[in-house]
């Protein structure tokens, strides 16, 4: 591997195993400096989420965990989600039947996965990850889509797995609330999501 003339560690230099990597290889690496996901056998080295993305995540995490807990579930941020033999994602949010602290969550335990799209992630969130979550049989996918150009706009879509793909079950935008009874009763108020 050639060294690059810029001040950034080559992120996969620490992954000193030949490709292809499996989910168990990936999980054996433990904590890594870079944010990296294993999607369909490829390693995706992405930036850490920006401030707006993190603030929205924080606000969402103020709303969902109590509702999940009331239904006997746990909602957590950025857990390692094992989707299959060649995929481990780091979704922004998962609601699961069981969470091991520090361990990977198995797709079989997950009832809902949530992503907040950003300029870098929107194509992979809408297409590739949507496919992988569907293939792993995760029944609900919450896609929160802030407008990339202005802060004052945001929409969310709650998607339900029908056969092998997601269809829209509910959608809402700024000034509204997204309310649902499934997979557990919760409400997302968009004005509160952008309150930071």
């Amino acid at each position: 591997m050639t060294s690059a003339p810029f001040d950034r560690p080559l992120p996969w230099a620490s992954f000193d195993r030949p490709l292809p990597w499996t989910a168990s290889d990936y999980l054996a690496f433990g904590e890594t400096e870079a944010r990296v996901e294993l999607l369909d056998g490829s390693l995706w080295f992405g930036p850490q989420p920006d401030d707006a993305h993190q603030n929205i995540t924080c606000n969402l995490l103020g709303m969902l965990p109590p509702a999940a807990r009331a239904a006997g579930l746990r909602a957590v941020r950025a857990a390692k989600l094992e989707l299959g033999p060649s995929s481990v994602a780091l979704p922004d949010l998962v609601a699961a039947r069981a969470c091991q602290p520090g361990g990977a969550i198995s797709a079989a335990d997950v009832v809902l996965v949530g992503e907040i799209t950003s300029e870098t992630s929107e194509s992979k969130d809408r297409v590739l990850k949507s496919d992988l979550y569907a293939d792993a049989g995760i029944e609900w996918y919450l896609l929160v889509e802030p407008a990339q150009t202005e802060k004052a706009s945001i929409t969310a879509r709650l998607l339900r797995l029908v056969e092998d793909h997601y269809v829209e079950d509910a959608a809402a935008g700024i000034g509204e609330a997204l309310k649902t009874d499934d997979p557990f009763p919760f409400e997302i108020h968009f004005d509160d999501l952008l309150d930071f």
Partner: protein
């Protein structure tokens, strides 16, 4: 400030998106490395059946491509599809010279991907979407039977209103025939020959 926000702010290492300059400075690498909207995507180098299919595609497609007098076929070329989006398709056909460097998507008329056991969804959906958005008129998807590599399915897509629609399909044992984007007659059975 919530605990959640404090945790985020305490994070030391917060690299931003990868730039094209950083991507290009990586130079030659063993793995396939692509830049997708600021993410660096590192994929396994192809396995042997996959390499054999690519070699046989080159052997079969080079004569009709050359016969056009204006097109050339390449493998392992970085294609710039959009800002911070540089992919390396398995094969490309276009008005290409032998000069090194990244090629603009506008110079291509066809991109081709051979699906791998690990990357099938990436090739079928995600990459097809990127190529369509970049306006590459033809997409050839080669799908080997992953279980035993005894058969290959070929799908030739044509861009229509920004989406790929099936133009010709050959199931294992059949021949893919098309007059466009150049005369193609690909015998699926020959693609796995040693």
């Amino acid at each position: 400030m919530t605990t959640c926000q404090t945790l985020f702010m305490s994070r030391q290492h917060r690299p931003g998106r990868w730039t094209e300059a950083e991507f290009l400075a990586l130079g030659e690498t063993r793995e396939r490395i692509e830049l997708i909207d600021g993410d660096l995507v590192v994929s396994p180098s192809p396995n042997r059946p996959h390499q054999r299919i690519i070699q046989n595609l080159i052997i079969n497609l080079t004569p009709p491509v050359r016969a056009t007098g204006s097109l050339a076929l390449f493998t392992g070329v970085d294609i710039r599809l959009a800002s911070r989006r540089i992919l390396c398709p398995d094969l490309v056909v276009g008005k290409l010279s032998c000069e090194p460097g990244v090629v603009d998507a506008g110079d291509l008329i066809l991109a081709c991907e051979v699906t791998s056991p690990s990357n099938a969804s990436y090739d079928r959906q995600q990459k097809a979407g990127y190529y369509a958005t970049a306006g590459i008129e033809w997409y050839l998807l080669v799908e080997p039977d992953m279980s035993d590599y005894q058969g290959v399915r070929l799908l030739l897509y044509r861009l229509e209103s920004g989406r790929y629609v099936e133009h010709a399909v050959a199931e294992p044992g059949q021949v893919l025939v098309s007059d466009a984007p150049f005369p193609i007659a690909l015998v699926t059975a020959t693609l796995l020959q040693p």
